[in-house]
Symmetry: C2
Subunit: 344 residues, 2 copies
DNA sequence: CTGAAAGCGCTTACAG
DNA sequence: CTGAAAGCGCTTACAG
């Protein structure tokens, strides 16, 4: 089957009786075009349903009006929201947005940055929760290399010391605030579930968690800190582990889940142990997914305004800003956290 | 700050002491290159970390190794899984995958197909649950137009009568199977919640739902069919509507939710009415999201194998297949459906 | 097996 | 204000 051929700038120029240079000028909205010609060109464009080839533009031009975003697995709606916000803002600014899953980047390869560079992007926002020690050099090299080709902004950790602008999600502050909230509810045995153990970032949740405990003169109980990941399953296994390993009088009365998915897993584990929520156990999540309000009990969570973060990051990348901003967030109080049951 | 310049095919040719034509040949894996030269070229490529510009390739070449996928809002992980499957398969076949949210397409505009065409795609898979009557012409026109430029496959409804290949999700068969399952559990008052009322596709859920009722000699009760959307909120409002409008003796004993998100909303509504699941009410969802097993009770759902669907669709588009295939799916039985409580 | 050359569809100095 | 022309980095006949 024969493919339709795009109308080209030549077709339009011929139709309008002008040079392709003039067509190009009206296309890009240059003011220096005689109104009469401009109109003829615009009519021709409409007539032919003409749209300039992005490939040709990229090849010829200095600006490509395209940015990229590299994100972890989309199964967590959290990232999908980040993408949506980014996409909307890009569109609003007349840019196209290309999505690159981290998994498609192949950090093993000698220079994954070229994968983006070959796409002629003007900028890339990359989501990076933290710098895993094992891959630190590789990732940093990737980012530096990327920066040779385009603007870069990172969402997640603060890499300003390496010269990368972006939006910093202060997980330590967030965790501290959460602990305070739980403490204000009278909780003294607070667990923290999920996340990667190799994460040594000082701004990780743990830092805030520990500070919160200290502040409230509560001991750090190692059994209350379990790692595991960011899935419901890891929440289930995590809390099960805690509950199965301790006699009930030592069970935590509150758990901070890495995110809402992990929190959901905790719901399961609690139920399996006959714990009712929030009466026997308080659970707080993070990300405030659309489903959070509909869980039983409705999940108290942290709204990171990921849509706004995504939008802002794209904005930074497009306008080439270089600062580091801290993401704002709010604890959304719902029914899954309650005052600590009086001990007996 | 100055941007790094990509090494070009000229740099490689110079380095290897051959013509750019030869470099191009080894790049594309043509066999007709002397081993010695090939090796020199390969070394040069490695040395310069060279990757060909995709824009230049698209401009010059006949094949662009890029396909697109147009999807609804990603907040539902269902679509994210579709994307993931598609992305993996594309990558496996050496293709790049570009994501286009439906919302970015602007059906109002005179020719949204050009938005994809300008990207020089070889093919596009578009997700289309059904053909909304109000936009039927517009969408069909979009698809036809798209087909002039590239291979097209549609996931969702069966548009083979219009000449579009793709993967058909037989929602009627699916609903019929679900009704049968519920009937086998003894249910006689079965509600169906969610979806768009304007969907008149004969393969929509409703057809199977009605057939299932007929088959079991059950009456169709209009109050048991409520529309509303695909979100948790629509499930909540939907079931609330049913429960609030009927005296308890007429309450449904089972509800079929459009998807897992809607099912979640139904959980909420049931709880608000003091109904315990699955004792008083059975709920079945669809999509089998990662969170389904962790709800309380664990949600019985339908696994559409969306990852596989996404993968298969890009495969069809890339190899230019023209058939229509029916997606396979399985009911995943978990705890949210139980035998009908004996009436008394 | 290999190279010189044309061409893909644009943008952008450069003249005028 | 406008056009002729060079150039972006590739691929692909066409000769050899």
């Amino acid at each position: 089957m024969k493919r339709a051929r795009h109308a080209t700038i030549y077709d339009i120029a011929a139709e309008a009786g002008v040079s392709i240079a003039t067509v190009s000028r009206v296309l890009r909205g240059e003011p220096s075009v005689a109104p009469a010609k401009r109109e003829r060109v615009e009519n021709a464009i409409r007539l032919h349903n003409y749209r300039p080839s992005s490939a040709a533009r990229k090849l010829a031009g200095t600006v490509t009006k395209t940015v990229g975003i590299v994100l972890p697995r989309l199964f967590n709606p959290y990232y999908a929201m980040l993408f949506t916000g980014a996409q909307e803002k890009a569109r609003e600014m007349g840019y196209a947005l290309s999505l690159f899953p981290w998994s498609s980047l192949d950090m093993e390869s000698f220079d994954p940055a070229l994968l983006l560079a070959e796409r002629c992007l003007e900028g890339a926002v990359v989501y990076l929760e933290y710098l895993p020690p094992a891959d630190k050099d590789r990732i940093l090299h990737f980012l530096k290399r990327l920066k040779e080709f385009m603007n870069v902004a990172v969402i997640g950790c603060d890499l300003s010391e390496y010269g990368f602008p972006g939006i910093f999600i202060n997980n330590a502050a967030l965790a501290l605030k959460i602990v305070r909230y739980l403490v204000s509810l009278g909780h003294e045995r607070i667990a923290l579930i999920g996340g990667s153990e190799e994460d040594t970032d000082p701004f990780r949740r743990d830092a805030g968690y520990l500070e919160g405990l200290r502040e409230a003169q509560l001991p750090f109980t190692e059994s209350y800190r379990v790692w595991g990941g960011d899935t419901p399953e890891s929440g289930l296994l995590g809390l099960n582990g805690i509950l199965d390993g301790l006699k009930p009088s030592f069970w935590p009365t509150a758990v901070i889940a890495l995110n809402d998915l992990v929190a959901l897993g905790c719901f399961s584990a609690a139920a399996a142990h006959g714990l009712s929520l929030p009466g026997d156990l308080s659970v707080i999540g993070c990300d405030n997914l659309v489903s959070a309000p509909y869980l039983a009990p409705p999940l108290t969570s942290v709204d990171l305004h990921q849509r706004r973060i995504g939008a802002r990051a794209v904005e930074m990348v497009i306008s080439g800003e270089s600062g580091i901003e801290e993401a704002e967030w709010d604890i959304v109080v719902r029914g899954s956290c309650a005052p600590c049951p009086s001990r007996g």
